[in-house]
Amino acid sequence: MLCSHCYISNISLKIKIMSDIQSNERIRSKVILLSKKEANFAKKEIRRSKMTAFFMVTPLLVFLLFAFVAPIGTMLHRGFYSPVVASLIPDTLDKLNQWSGEGIPNDDVLTSLAIDFKRLANERQSGKIAAALNRNMPGASSVVKSTARKMRRVDDAELKANGAELLLNAHEKWSNTKIWFALRKAGETYSDTHYLKALDLERNSLGELQVREASQIYIQLYSKTLKLALYITLACLIIGYPLAFYLANAPAKTANLLMIFVLLPFWTSLLVRTTSWIALLQTNGVVNSFLMSIGVTSSPLEMLYTEFSTIIAMTHILLPFMILPLYSVMKGIDPSYFRAALSMGARPISAFLKVYLPNTLPGLSAGALLVFIISVGYYITPALVGGTDGQMISNIIAFHMQQSNNWGLAAALGTLLLLLILSLYWLYDRFVGASNIKLG
């Protein structure tokens, strides 16, 4: 068998053999067939094909680097990194870090802070500290602002001499150790505060972890997000499976037409589709008018701005992601499997469960995973139709980026979301096997 290789004169075949040789010691001992010149040529050929392959995937790698790896790296970093306070009052923080934590810090620290406040008030920067401090200690914002206003009116010499006293008199809170802990915390350039907050945790004055006293909303929000994503996935499955089955078995003409209907959502704007749900579901909307006209209800149902509206609108939007992998897998399943099962005496339902369904699992799991992951991170639709009930984690992330300007917390929440999705994928791989996924 191997000897027949000796007669092959075609260079490209020799190249193939070359790579065989590289990978297989056993063959090398038997086949010695390339002259030096030919071997060089073959090596060049291999190099050229590697280069071509590299150029073809370059755009993908560039995109991946600039639109994926870099932003995610920045996000991870931002969750820990908060340089604002540290850059505004570096001297005071230096001194504050000497503080033992018992009683209020010494006059030196207080004076330095008073001087800083005056400078910041003049530079109109005091708001930044107020916001940063407020995140660690709700209510501290007004303390900072009013103190800064008062310090601004005091002249420099007086401030240097009596700064500590002036500060304590400016607001009673400055006599409370809590605000100093909060300030020291806010002054850390790198801190886990955002991550702890995203997990509804905080550190007490001794630095121990405890459940956050002020409010616990994020864990609940994560679990609600998972719950909604699960409902959406199930709804997509229940609607998508029979539809994909029909598509895969219908005559080509019908199937093509229906496929266009399935893909239609991809060709219309997401906003249009979402707003059409508002029109349908609102109090005086199409659905309510219809229900009332046929007498199912006497007063309109609250459907818009609920979990229900988020689920139904997202199911509509994500359905193609379920149908397409299912369809492609079902298309590849020979109808003779089902017939063979029937001919062997299986009832149609049993044949479906034992023979057909297991063969669609790759498409089913791919579709379910896609829909689930996309819906966990979905933003626009819950924002528009979800109201307060139907909000998901992404909406809160957006809120922290756009309204409360707390990018650090937004980054921490985003990172946790990413970790959540990765661990779900890991679990899936563990128990179902990622190699089972078939995307088309």
Partner: protein, 366 residues
């Protein structure tokens, strides 16, 4: 065509099938099959063979007519209640189940006790000589092995009837011949009733008890292989089964089972058996098999002589195929065994061919 009585285990009477309610794919299908018989449905692609099988198995409805299995009509029985085993061309082995699970499937749906299933699966794995491969998935088997498993799976539940739709179509020639023997062996050993569909006449000739030649939605002839080969009832069968030469001519005289035919564009007359040809004066086609023609002066004892001119020869191996031109310009082929005396000719050289009259049959011209 067939005798009633012993051969009516499975019987079709005037089956018709139309997919579009306009044209009939199966026009008039009537046939009786005996218990334990190996019956082959032979016909060109698109002649409706699969359609007939699907109607027996219950996957296609019957437009009109009746199918009786063991005396009971089955046309309105659900497929899963018919107890008919089926072997598909693409094997249809369940890819997510191992070989043993595949074999156990029909027994499981019949709720057979576990130990009986295991014993039966073992028995059938041995029967198809794959006893060590029960744990493998179908994807890990070769084509021939898959086919054997498909066969065993269709037999393991003792079906009243086994249907096979071109089961060897996807195999290469050597494997196909091996599987033909294998199926014949299993049939002899177990004695199941088979309806076997193929478009390969060699396969049909070597395996079947009887062959039903099917074309244009009608059974053209149903007979044992040798009868079919030696006494085809019409020119379609004569042409479809084995190689054949057709010589055009006109009938000039009749004599009982024999007629005399004047060859087109020539003066010679040849004596032939009567096929389905018309009366004196009508056009006909005379069929003569290539191995039943002899090149003069080799065969002295003959009834007919045809004058032709030499065109070319093909070296096939065990025999040599000579091509000659008839007076009307059509080809006529003669097969000569490859011994050392195989003659050589010049192109255009006039040659005489001879044959015996019982080897010639006159059919109606088409």
């Amino acid at each position: 065509m067939t005798t009633q009585g012993a051969t009516d285990y499975l019987s079709f009477s005037n089956i018709q099938k139309s997919y579009d309610q306009k044209t009939l794919v199966v026009k008039d299908f009537s046939l009786n099959v005996a218990k334990g018989e190996f019956l082959t449905l032979l016909g060109p692609s698109g002649s409706g063979k699969t359609t007939v099988l699907m109607m027996i198995a219950g996957f296609e409805s019957v437009t009109s007519g009746d199918i009786l299995l063991d005396g009971k009509p089955i046309t309105s029985t659900a497929p899963y209640k018919r107890n008919i085993g089926m072997v598909f061309q693409n094997y249809a082995l369940f890819p997510h189940m191992s070989i043993a699970e595949n074999l156990a499937y029909p027994l499981k749906v019949r709720k057979m006790p576990k130990d009986e299933i295991d014993a039966k699966v073992k028995e059938y794995l041995e029967l198809i000589e794959l006893e060590h491969m029960g744990g493998r998935k179908p994807a890990q088997l070769s084509g021939g092995q898959k086919q054997r498993v498909a066969l065993a799976r269709a037999l393991i539940f003792n079906p009243s009837l086994v249907l096979m739709d071109e089961p060897l179509g996807a195999l290469d020639k050597k494997l196909r011949e091996q599987m033909q023997l294998e199926i014949t062996r299993l049939h002899k050993k177990i004695g199941f009733t088979v309806i076997y569909v193929t478009h390969d006449q060699t396969e049909a000739l070597t395996m079947s008890d009887r062959i039903a030649v099917f074309n244009d939605g009608v059974v053209q002839q149903c007979a044992a292989p040798d009868v079919l080969y030696e006494h085809p009832e019409n020119s379609f069968v004569a042409d479809f089964i084995g190689d054949n030469n057709f010589v055009n001519g006109t009938i000039v005289a009749e004599d009982g089972d024999f007629v005399t035919v004047k060859i087109a564009n020539a003066e010679e007359e040849i004596a032939t058996k009567r096929g389905d040809c018309g009366p004196i004066g009508s056009a006909c086609r005379v069929s003569i098999r290539p191995e039943k023609l002899f090149i003069m002066p080799h065969e002295p004892a003959c009834d007919n002589k045809i004058n032709v001119t030499y065109a070319m020869r093909l070296y096939v191996g065990d025999f040599i195929q000579y091509y000659f031109k008839l007076p009307d310009g059509k080809d006529i082929v003669v097969k000569v065994l490859n011994d050392h005396e195989a003659p050589k000719f010049d192109e255009g050289q006039p040659i005489g061919l001879t044959s015996l009259k019982q080897h010639c049959t006159a059919y109606a011209a088409t």
